[in-house]
């Protein structure tokens, strides 16, 4: 970064000074000249295959492809000479010799790069009269979401490069040579990949196409809206497009968000839950055990009656972390100032003390940390995250940026993941023993610099332990710990990507804090980036939807109860009214049986969501809410990036946006409550929260706006008691069950998407290859998984590199809810697995 050299060259007579090693293409673009490109794709390695980007360099007889030629000092480049222009036309004519001219039936027609380029530069007439090469007569399907037509291929290889360099699957390759070259999967077989559609998005022509969007519309028919992906906290900027009120695709565009063209399968294909027929359309009131459609006035009347009569101490509110910032802010205002209750939370999966401690340890109240900034560090330490499954796009970003920068990626996880292949070191620890690993690393560092690290907060807790002892507890070799400590010691800057496993297992938060403190004391430049799994989790915390702190992490008068506490109180019968927005507690709370029992005693239960979820079915009043595509607002992703979203549709039937509903409830109880104008609410947030002061996220703001530091710290949570969980030894249930989101699913919302269900329908269990060999099962085999109180049949996915004792069941399947295997207070469930014979 220092000591970079700059060179000066002339582009069309204009002097430009750029870094050494810059491509001529980038230099010319910086100078403001247009050079058409085909095979060139930002962030991918250059191949220079299409030769569209030819430029003339003084002193060189031949034209040079600018996308792979670096600049040299005192070059004189011409991008618009007659020779260059003739060459462009000739290259396009050449590309068209074998390109099937079936634009009228091609899905890409109208937004095709080749079309645009020929229109702009190309020959109006080709001289090629021979028969074109046809690879096949009919398009063939590569995956439930990808369809392929090789006749249109222009051999730019973008798909192959993106597949291996960004997605890391390398399932696409080149078959054949020269004009017969075809980019496809091995023997055109069905793809076993992330199904993220990156190959579709980068394809300049209609070679890779979306199967769900196939022959649905032309891009000019579509109405678009910029929004933010609702599935995880990576917060990908995306554009959803509808035709005749039906959302037909979501795309990510270059230049419209930090994610560029990157999106995962969920974001790119999970839009169709918006069109679901099962969406709730009217308020439903349970009368005599049966839901009856009622009017909004009636529903609001019932709410007013029940909530005003309730004891404020016995009123509970839970809002999903998928709502917008405005809605979350208004929700906490409703609960705190209208219901006068301190009891509110934004998630049902983890304890409020744990989350507060994590927030504090990960420095979330501070300013936002950009992922690209974090990736500048010498060492990237990813801990407690199932990043490839829960935050796929973060995974992509980590992969391609570290590949280019060659910095060290170290992964600590109890489960193997795709990113392992891009890492310098992958450490497998036992589930729930991440804390011991971190402590061991901290101890190792402490032993290197005992004087400098003396007095670091929390260091006393590990003083009496040994690296070996802690390593044994965590199930990690001492040498691995030592080398991890070595890499950290040798790096000038360290980024820690801390995932939600910290919250799921609760151990390790102190370790994270300790390690962070040690690294800071050692003078390392440290960035901690939380990796979260609900799209607006960070926003929910920022807005103070948490029992222990208020908006902007400010103090609250009275600390309330989190979901744990609420359910406990409800179970005791001390609940009068319960207001839940979008959080399917029943299917997400880790102990399903307890949650069901508690909610059935919860007094008057109001549930507000888009679908009739399991929790909705046991509630007393169901209010139809709106999806992200139907509301305007802002989202704050895991980095602290605030992005605005605009509505594309209007809510279905009589449904309303959650902001409107919250506002209506508020003003029905307390007249004068804030109105349902997102703009005004955001202004209120901006005025009240230091974090959001002066933030004006715009729709065209491609990178969003980073939040500022709130100035508040959550010091009091630093001393959270935390013990190493007892994994126990149980021979009848020999395997540790961990859970999380699957690559194709996020919570239960994505299960409403037909396309995503087409990608993964039945419940799966991920087991290690060693275990698979032992059991004699392979991918797709069916096994019976038994917990102490329940069991279910799963389809097997074998994962190499996972420890034998660890099995993973995604929490997304309604047929086999993972939370059935859990008991309250227990973070790692024990199960046994037997081969299920369907005969």
């Amino acid at each position: 970064m220092n000591g970079e050299k700059f060179v000066t060259l002339k582009v069309n007579g204009k002097e430009v000074t750029v870094k050494e090693g810059t491509l001529i293409l980038d230099a010319a673009r910086e100078a403001g000249y247009e050079i058409p490109t085909f095979c060139y794709q930002e962030n991918l390695s250059g191949v220079g295959s299409c030769r569209i980007c030819f430029v003339e360099i003084e002193g060189q007889k031949k034209l040079q492809p600018s996308c792979i030629t670096p600049v040299m000092a005192d070059m004189n480049v011409r991008t618009d000479s007659a020779q260059v222009i003739a060459a462009r036309g000739a290259m396009l004519e050449f590309v068209l010799t074998n390109h099937a001219l079936d634009c009228p039936v091609c899905d890409k027609g109208g937004e095709c790069e080749l079309q645009n380029m020929v229109w702009k530069f190309g020959p109006r007439k080709g001289r090629f009269t021979e028969k074109k090469i046809r690879f096949h007569e009919k398009d063939y399907i590569l995956s439930p979401v990808i369809v392929k037509n090789s006749n249109r291929c222009v051999h730019c290889m973008r798909c192959v490069r993106v597949c291996s360099e960004v997605v890391g699957k390398a399932v696409l390759g080149v078959i054949g040579r020269e004009a017969h070259q075809e980019m496809t999967s091995f023997v055109r077989s069905y793809l076993d990949c992330d199904h993220d559609g990156m190959c579709i998005e980068v394809c300049p022509v209609g070679c890779f196409m979306r199967l769900p969007y196939r022959y649905k519309a032309r891009h000019w028919d579509l109405k678009s809206a910029k929004t933010v992906c609702p599935y995880c906290a990576t917060g990908c900027r995306m554009t959803i497009q509808e035709r005749d009120g039906v959302v037909v695709r979501s795309i990510a565009r270059l230049g419209s968000g930090f994610n560029g063209r990157m999106m995962c399968a969920r974001g790119r294909f999970g839009y169709d839950f918006l069109n679901s027929k099962e969406r709730l359309k009217t308020p439903l009131l349970k009368v005599g055990g049966v839901f009856k459609e009622v009017s909004w006035d009636k529903a609001l009347g019932v709410i007013r009656e029940k909530f005003t009569r309730a004891d404020p101490k016995k009123v509970f509110g839970v809002a999903s972390a998928r709502l917008t910032n405005e809605e979350l802010y208004l929700f906490q205002k409703l609960v705190r100032s209208v219901f006068n209750s301190p009891n509110l939370d934004s998630t049902s999966r983890w304890n409020e003390n744990a989350s507060a401690a994590f927030i504090s340890a990960a420095g979330i109240p501070g300013r936002g940390t950009g992922i690209y900034g974090a990736m500048e560090a010498d060492c990237v330490f990813i801990a407690g995250a199932q990043i490839s499954d829960e935050n796929p796009v973060t995974d992509y970003i980590v992969r391609y940026t570290t590949a280019a920068k060659r910095n060290s990626v170290i992964i600590a996880s109890s489960r193997a993941m795709k990113l392992d292949s891009s890492s310098r070191m992958s450490i497998r620890h036992l589930p729930g023993r991440l804390g011991s690993l971190l402590n061991a690393t901290a101890l190792s560092l402490y032993m290197d610099y005992p004087e400098r690290l003396e007095g670091t907060p929390g260091i006393d807790g590990i003083k009496g332990k040994t690296v070996e002892g802690l390593g044994q507890v965590s199930g990690v070799e001492v040498s691995d710990i030592k080398s991890l400590a070595g890499v950290l010691r040798g790096s000038a800057s360290v980024s820690i990507l801390a995932g939600v496993d910290f919250l799921r297992f609760r151990e390790g938060i102190l370790g994270l804090r300790l390690l962070g403190a040690i690294l800071k004391t050692l003078g390392k430049q440290l960035e901690i980036l939380p990796l979260l799994d609900r799209s607006n989790q960070r926003g929910a915390w920022d807005m103070g939807v948490h029992p222990l702190f208020g908006p902007g992490y400010g103090e609250v008068k009275e600390k309330g109860l989190g979901v744990d506490g609420m359910l406990e109180r409800a179970n005791e019968g001390a609940s009068d009214a319960f207001y839940i927005i979008g959080e399917d507690i029943l299917s997400m709370y880790p102990d399903r049986a307890f949650a069901a029992r508690a909610l059935s005693r919860a007094g008057f239960l109001v549930y507000q969501d888009m679908f009739m979820t399991e929790t909705a079915q046991i509630s007393d009043l169901v209010l139809p809410g709106a999806s992200f595509a139907e509301k305007a607002g802002t989202f704050t992703n895991q980095e602290g990036r605030v992005q605005a979203a605009e509505p594309l549709l209007s809510p279905k039937g009589e449904a309303k946006t959650d902001l409107e509903i919250i506002s209506a409830i508020g003003s029905s109880i307390a007249p004068g409550f804030t109105g349902a104008d997102p703009q005004r609410v955001f202004e209120e947030i901006r005025g009240g929260l230091k974090t959001y002061e002066g933030i004006f996220p715009g729709l065209n703001d491609s990178n969003g706006v980073m939040v500022k530091g709130s100035g508040n710290t959550l010091k009091e949570f630093e001393e959270v008691k935390e013990a190493v969980s007892d994994l126990g030894k149980n021979t009848s249930y020999p395997y540790y069950l961990i859970t999380g989101n699957h690559l194709f699913h996020s919570g239960r919302l994505s299960r409403r998407s037909e396309i995503l269900r087409g990608l993964l329908m039945e419940p799966v269990i991920e087991i290690s290859s060693i275990l698979a060999d032992e059991l004699g099962v392979e991918d797709g085999s069916r096994v019976m998984v038994n917990g102490r109180e329940s069991g279910a049949v799963f389809s097997v996915r074998v994962k190499k590199g996972t420890p034998k004792e660890v099995v993973f069941i995604p929490e997304n399947f309604e047929k086999a809810p993972a939370n059935r295997f859990f008991k309250r207070g227990e973070t790692v469930a024990r199960v046994n697995i037997t081969v299920h014979s369907s005969f």
Partner: protein
């Protein structure tokens, strides 16, 4: 002639002129003209009772969707007609279907035209890459409710009353039919008659 001034025709006072005026010669000439027309054959096309005008091939009437010689739909639902339409009266929703046409399995699920908005400019015809869409020779669209102005794929794909092989530009025999569904003028293409401009 000076500008802006009305010059009265100079009065002639010759013998012929006096004769002309006295015996109303001009008037009688006029009467003879009208009498000649009165006795001549009428040029009226007896539409809709017995005759009907079939327009020339370049006439732009109601849309037709055509098939190839094997009877397969030519339309590939590319939506270019809808794009080209200045009044946005065409709606195309494509779908995939096995048509046996080879790679172009794209066909129209919905192909609707709203003739109330259509101005018969023919841009859609020009835009069509497969010659599937042509403006036909049908011009009878009067009915008592707007539904007959909304034509969909099934109606347009049906055999046209005047096939493309028939050149047009002639008057043919016709039959006026009044049925439950409304009125209709059925043409008998084999019964060609002279066009009106060749009559008298």
């Amino acid at each position: 002639m000076s500008a802006g001034k009305y010059m009265e025709k100079k009065r002639e006072c010759g013998i012929r002129d006096i004769f002309r005026r006295t015996f109303f010669i001009d008037f009688i000439k006029g009467l003879m003209v009208t009498l000649r027309y009165n006795l001549s054959k009428s040029v009226t096309v007896r539409y809709p009772d017995t005759e009907k005008w079939v327009p020339f091939p370049r006439y732009r009437g109601v849309h037709t969707l055509n098939r190839d010689e094997k009877g397969r739909e030519l339309c590939v639902a590319c939506e270019l007609c809808a794009r080209a339409c200045p009044t946005k009266c065409i709606t195309v929703v494509p779908m995939e279907d096995d048509t046996g046409r080879g790679i172009a399995d794209r066909v129209a699920k919905v192909w609707k035209v709203d003739l109330v908005r259509c101005l018969f400019c023919g841009y859609c015809e020009d835009a069509c890459p497969t010659f599937a869409l042509r403006l036909g020779k049908d011009y009878e669209r009067a009915c008592t409710d707007v539904s007959c102005a909304l034509l969909d794929r099934e109606e347009l794909l049906g055999p046209a009353e005047v096939p493309w092989s028939f050149d047009g530009g002639v008057v043919v025999g016709a039959r006026f039919e009044r049925g439950k569904g409304g009125i209709k003028v059925a043409a008998d293409l084999s019964d060609e008659k002279s066009p009106w401009f060749e009559r008298q």
